[in-house]
Amino acid sequence: METQKTEMNKKLPKRKLSVWAKFKRDGDLLLLLLPGLLWYLLFTYRPMAGLRIAFYEYNLFRGIEGSRFVGWSNFIQFLSGPDFSQTVINTLMIALWQLLIVFPLPILLAIAITEMKNKWVSKMTQTATFLPYFISVVVVCGMVINFLSPSTGIINFFIRKLGGEPIYFMTKPEYFRPIYTLMTLWQTAGFSSIVYIAAIMGIDPALYEAAKVDGATKIQQIRHVTLPGIMPIILVMLVLNIGKMVKVGFESIILLYQPVTFSTADVIATYVYRTGLTNRNYGLATAAGLFEAVVALLLVVVANKLSKKVSQTSIW
């Protein structure tokens, strides 16, 4: 950058641009920036100012001026309410299932795909696993609900064929987390594996040659060449995903859960949705949502710090 500047100066000798001249030259850049900037201010930052709602007994029609200020009472109500411990535990448990299953399996999938010598099998696997990502949450949940139906669901047909009794999965709390986890895995595994495939392709082939010369088996090569090679990207993805895990896919949970499964399925985000948009208690819902957002942000910061310490990899 420096050398370019001096070159430019050589071409245009001794003309330091004043602020006004700079503005005249690049003012139209601001014009290009403007629509997007306005959008961010109106549709993402203005709602952030709206987080004040958490401190009010908010009335949607009277606005913030017409609503009663209640201080921290919404937060106190959420933190001491009966739903607090249940939603926090459920959020953490679902995040944990995600962390243990949905996060690592795409890495293994990527390794399998890149290790296959038969190119068309590897292509086919990639294409097939990637496809569910294109299907909407509503359709995927609709498929899950219908497949698990006790009377007409394909899963229960298989169970009956194997001699078992049909199970009404959607009403049994103990099945909710596995169902949600497998559904997420099915939908996202292929998509998540892409970034690891790209990373594995970027590893220097000479490293594998050297390992082979040293007599390393395939498994040893994966352990000592592939995994260390993609560790930075794994950590980045982990840090990126931790915030998302806390926010869990409430868009699909609200389609799958029912009052009978709330004991395992109701997470903070679904509680916010129900309290706010269904029961119209905006202040309480905003307080709960803010709590969740702050926890998610803190977790990302901590995870990033740890990742920096362990491997000098940081998202910032």
């Binding site: 950058m1 690049d26 139209d28 850049l29 290009l32 920036l33 629509p35 997007g36 900037l37 959008w39 961010y40 109106l42 549709f43 203005r46 709602p47 709206g50 987080l51 709602i53 949607l60 399998a112 795909i113 296959m116 010598k117 099998v121 097939a128 696993t129 990637f130 496809l131 299907i135 909407s136 949450v137 359709v139 609709g142 498929m143 219908n146 497949f147 139906s149 009377s151 007409t152 394909i154 229960n156 047909f157 009956r160 959607m170 099915w186 292929g190 970034v195 088996t217 395939k218 980045v236 993805m237 990126l240 868009e251 389609l255 029912q258 985000a269 949705y273 819902a285 949502g289 803010l290």
Partner: protein
């Protein structure tokens, strides 16, 4: 040529390597079946005689093919309005997305932009912290955008990940192309329009596809912001169909005994109708999606 190389590669594999490769191929085939079977089942169930689907006789193959479920789905009141709405939200929505995203990404990619760091931080910050659903909903109420198409089109004009993908693409274009234009007296606006956009077709296609799929599949905000049946997109229509089904399972059972097609197969047929456009474009957009997924993950 390629095949020859592969042949020789397998020929020189040790026995252990052959076993290992065999295991990998086996995993690939199993994973492929697991990924495709649910979609395949929905298709064959929607095309089979409803009675056989309800009995569990349809598992792997079509049984007495019929279009009855599709006929019933097509007659559902509101389905075609919802379909047309989805096409509108996708087409118009992507145009809105591309206008807001490309202009801003270009401005942010230029190092001569004043306060560039500040503006970039302003956008990236929203990835880590956002107001959440209630303040966002209230914001739409404040702007009097509830039950308007504008809310759907403009309210979600920029996705920050897509903005970052485009910005980093613009940044990697060589500066020399632009210097020539500056000497010709062209300003940023025309450099953007006449040089950057034509040169960025692959990146624009990638981001456009991301937006199109999100628009086609999006349901949550459409459900929360739109009340009139005349404005809802297909996903909200489907959601109503499926949720109604759970709460009325007993009613549905009574209804089906006499009718030609059952709610289950009608739902499957509606699902197929809704995902057909995605399945058709999938082979074409797959490669764009792949490059986008890689950039997005690394730069985001």
């Amino acid at each position: 040529m390629n095949e020859k190389k592969q042949l020789s590669e397998t020929a020189f594999m040790t026995r252990n390597e052959k076993i290992f490769n065999g295991i990998m191929v086996f995993i690939g085939i199993v994973v492929t079946i697991l990924s495709l079977y649910p979609i395949y089942y929905v298709v064959i169930a929607s095309l089979s005689k409803p009675l056989f689907v309800e009995n569990g006789d349809v598992m792997f193959w079509l049984k007495s093919p019929t279009l009855a479920s599709y006929a019933a789905a097509a007659k559902k009141p509101g389905i075609w309005t919802a379909y047309a709405n989805t096409i509108f939200y996708t087409a118009a929505g992507v145009l809105v997305n591309m206008f807001f995203t490309t202009t801003m990404a270009y401005a942010l990619s230029k190092k001569q932009l004043i306060f560039k760091k500040f503006f970039t931080l302003l956008t990236v910050f929203t990835l880590w912290f956002n107001a959440g659903i209630i303040p966002t909903y209230v914001n739409f109420v404040d702007f009097k955008l509830i039950d308007t198409r504008t809310a759907i089109l403009v309210g979600f004009a920029i996705n920050t990940y897509n903005l970052i993908i485009l910005k980093s693409f613009f940044e990697q274009l060589p500066e020399s192309i632009e210097e020539a234009a500056i000497i010709d007296g062209a300003r940023n606006l025309s450099i953007f329009w006449r040089i950057y956009l034509p040169l960025s077709k692959p990146a624009l296609a990638t981001v456009g596809m991301f937006y199109a799929v999100a628009r086609w599949n999006g349901y949550f905000w459409a459900m929360s912001l739109l009340n009139s049946d005349s404005k809802i997109p297909l996903q909200v229509f489907l959601k109503k169909m499926i949720v109604d089904k759970i709460s009325n399972e007993t009613d549905a059972a009574i209804l089906t005994t006499n009718s030609l097609s059952s709610p289950t197969t009608v739902i499957y047929a509606t699902i197929v109708i809704s995902i057909i456009p995605m399945l058709i474009v999938y082979p074409f957009v797959q490669k764009y999606f792949k490059s986008g997924a890689t950039i997005g993950a690394v730069k985001g």
